[in-house]
Amino acid sequence: MTVSQEFHTQGIAHDVDPHELIQVSGAIQPHGALLAVLVDSGLVTHASANLFAILGRRAEAVLGKPLESAIGEVASRALQDAESSNGFELYRLHALPGPGGDALHLRSFRSDRHLCIDIEPVDAKFTQGQHASVRQSIMETFEHAADSIKLCEIAVRGLKTIAGYDRVMAYRFGEDGHGKVIAEAREPHLDSVMGLRYPAADISPQARQQYLRQRVTGIADSSHWPVLLLEASDDHTLLDLTDSSLRSVSPVDLECMHNMHIAASLTIGLTHRQNLWGMLICHHESPRVAGPELRAVAGTIGQVVSLLLGSLEEAELLAARIERMTILRALTERLAADGSLMDAFAAAEPELLGLVGATGAVLRLSGKVLRFGRAPSPSEAERALAVLHSEAGGDLLAVDDLSLRYPDLASCAGEASGALLLPFVGGADDAILWFRPELAQTIAWIGNTPEHAISDSVVATESISPRSSFGTCKEIVTGHSAPWVEADLALARDLWSAIKAEVAKRAKAELLELRRYDPLTRLPNRALLQERLAEARKEAGTALTLLFLSLDETKKINETMGYAAGDELLIEVARRLVATAGPGNLAARLGGAEFVVLCRGLQLGEAAELGEDIRRAVAAPFEIGGRLFHVASGVGIAAVDQSDMLDPEGAADFAMHEAITMVGAKHRAESQRQKMETLGRTMGGVAHEINNMLQPIALLAQDVIDKELVVGEGRQHLDVVLDCSKKARQIIGDMLAFSRPPVSTMETHDPVALLHDSLPIVRQAVPPSLVLSIQTEGHLPPVKMNRTAFVQILLNLAINAAAATGGQGELTITLEEDVRGFADAEMRQQTSFVRLRVADNGCGMDKATLDRAFEPFFTTKPVGQGTGLGLPVVYGLVREMGATIVLASEPDHGTTVTILIPANSGEAQNGVDTGH
């Protein structure tokens, strides 16, 4: 058996499979040697062919033998201790004298079931101690590095000093995988490679993985022939040499180095958060060994740089974030200020752009668009918004190559190559779209541009060819902006949170505000009105009047046309009311079909004019549901004054009551009157006829009784007949009285005298058991009225009181002076009144009855007891004399009728005064 036959070797193909497991190369660099021991047996299973040159023992001699036979007892025991305690330990120094008397460094590492040992000569010239001080000062200098570039500059200079290589570079990987030289320390005669880029493919993914595991790798001589590993006859395991410092690299890489005139290299990986951030690369034009001590120092430098890089980057990020947060706060404060959101944004252009480092932006809010800075034209911006919205799908979206992705936006590449879209979730198409301008870049590539390099997807089918040419190649990159970073997106999200919070706050305020408004008509409600009234009353010297508007028949509209129509009517009334009242006067809805206008600075007369205007406005036809109809309304006015003389609450009450009752009563009276009028032509005729028919009954029945022509039962019958005829007469009289045209003569009277004159008639009309008490003030102003009307009023009221008290009770009639600011429904203004009050303590009326009290023919008396015309007649008479009537009543607590009669300024006379 020849030596060559007994030893198995593994061949190395020149064109290698890209997925080659380059660590299992079965070969090492020649400046050191390697042994491998099967852990279980302790016997040497692999030895590099150059063992003799390094260790002084032949490979063949140690294969299959115990480890001690190769490296001695002490060494092997030390290694085994290390192994048992920690798996494998890197950088474990152990010196062993070599053949030339040099110290040897041993380092062990595991490959599955084997323990492998790197054996290297120690470089006497290079000891840790010598360079300790240099290392120390480098470390100290590191602290002064303000940013990652400065840090790398210090690192490469220091490393060059310590390691003595011709060139040391700091190499940074970009997000696209391409590398860029960011710092360089070189021998003067060399060309600079600063700023040059290396395509990503130059350092294969496998190599990158390597650097994460074995941070420091060195190639001593790119022209070396790899030394093969010889195997014991019974063990052909392919060793995993990843952790070996002597590992040879793939022939592809070696050829690369050779072509680039690099004989030796030392590479230190820089990691940041488990990623390969970049590398420190040392190149030398002639072969150079990087011994274990140097590698240790380089490794330490690499670790420190990695750590510092991390914290520097974080510090940079933090500083940038703080600056941006300040901008964000300023922006948020603007949003929170009064005024619309759009206005706030419009005033905050610098903050809006500065927040994410943009040069232009568009904001779309509720269909309106604002442009900031250098933004594309409106149509381009619209298009950009549209395409990005659909791509974003409701989330943030940042692109730095807008015009490349969407060629139809190429026209705005200048100012909008980069775009950051913040969609307003829930706000339809609302969004902010920031822009960054095109950043034209000229990139110098080592060799060919990446297009000529092989991408990952192609790797499977093609082989890696060693780089053949190393000229530089320039690439001009267009259509890109400066890329958006995570910080930008984070701030955009923070802005969105601020906007959402602001919108929510405003919505809540609006809701609170709405509680003061009637939801249907949007007018202020009673609560808000009372507030305003209280405020206004504090202002001394401002005349205040309250104008009440009451609508009739709204219930009927609701019933015949539906509630939607009723609502529409109220909204239209409100609109007309506001339009007529004008901006200085506050129109409010009290509820139902009642409205109020608070007028400031209007005297009673002016308010009355306004009242007239309002009444006219509301009297105009309403078109609802395609139909035209009219709504009856009543207006009452009260002056609100700070003085004690005029009682504002009372006046207001009166005015409102006036408006309400007047509407109802007037309307009903009107319709009755109209019915009567159509009937009226014949009313007199009917009355005439019936009176004629009653005449014989009255005369003859009485005659029969007087002549005693009939006695006993017959006599009683006749009494009934007579009684009925008298009642019939009364009914006819009432009907005529009710439907009569207004009286034409009014005279001026002393009210007290009038009252006293009427008393006998009243006394006679009511049961004696009803107690009558009269109270009058001493001196009352004269009033203008018709005497008969006065008597009629008193009479009707007294008769009602008698019925209410069942004849047992009290009736009190009072006459007093009354002073209040008041304008009635006909806008007759008056401040001086005589108040006639007729009060009883009878059964009273409930609300339903009270509402209908003035309705003709409405009566609660049993049939035959009353015509239901008493109050309607009174009402008519009261209105004719320009007075106002108010009913107050409560079941079981009696009824009070109050009539305010305008006082006349003239003297009392009994002469005939044809007024009206």
Binding site: M683, G684, H688, Q695, L699, P741
Partner: protein
């Protein structure tokens, strides 16, 4: 005791007035229209004429006016159930006396009629 002419177009009314007045001892002549009444009045002097105002044909006002002219010593009383063409109350009627010495509004009671007649006739006597 007195001679009274009653002019009234509704027979029942006429009859009832006649019965009452005659029951009191007055001599009553009746007419159913204004013309009839005037004819009678031209022929005979009466102490008192009681006439309805609103009648078809000539109305009571004319009767009263012409009657007075012819017979200054005769008293005139107007009775009425209200203006058949009117819409409303008879307040105004008080103001209008129709040229009569007194007005009675129908339906008046028996007492009222007799008392008024007596009063009106007294004036006659005193002249």
């Amino acid at each position: 005791m007195a001679s009274i002419l009653v002019i009234e177009d509704v027979p029942a009314v006429l009859l009832s007035i006649k019965i009452v007045l005659e029951g009191h001892g007055h001599k009553v002549t009746s007419a159913q229209t204004g013309e009839q009444g005037l004819t009678l009045l031209r022929a005979t002097p009466f102490d008192l004429v009681i006439t309805d105002i609103w009648m078809p044909g000539s109305n009571g006002v004319d009767v009263i006016r012409e009657g007075r002219a012819r017979s200054p010593r005769t008293r005139f009383m107007a009775i009425t159930g209200g203006d058949p063409n009117s819409r409303g109350s008879r307040d105004g009627l008080h103001q209008q006396d129709f040229g009569a010495d007194h007005i009675l509004l129908k339906p008046f009671e028996k007492d009222e009629l007799l008392k008024t007649v007596s009063r009106v006739l007294e004036r006659v006597a005193s002249i």
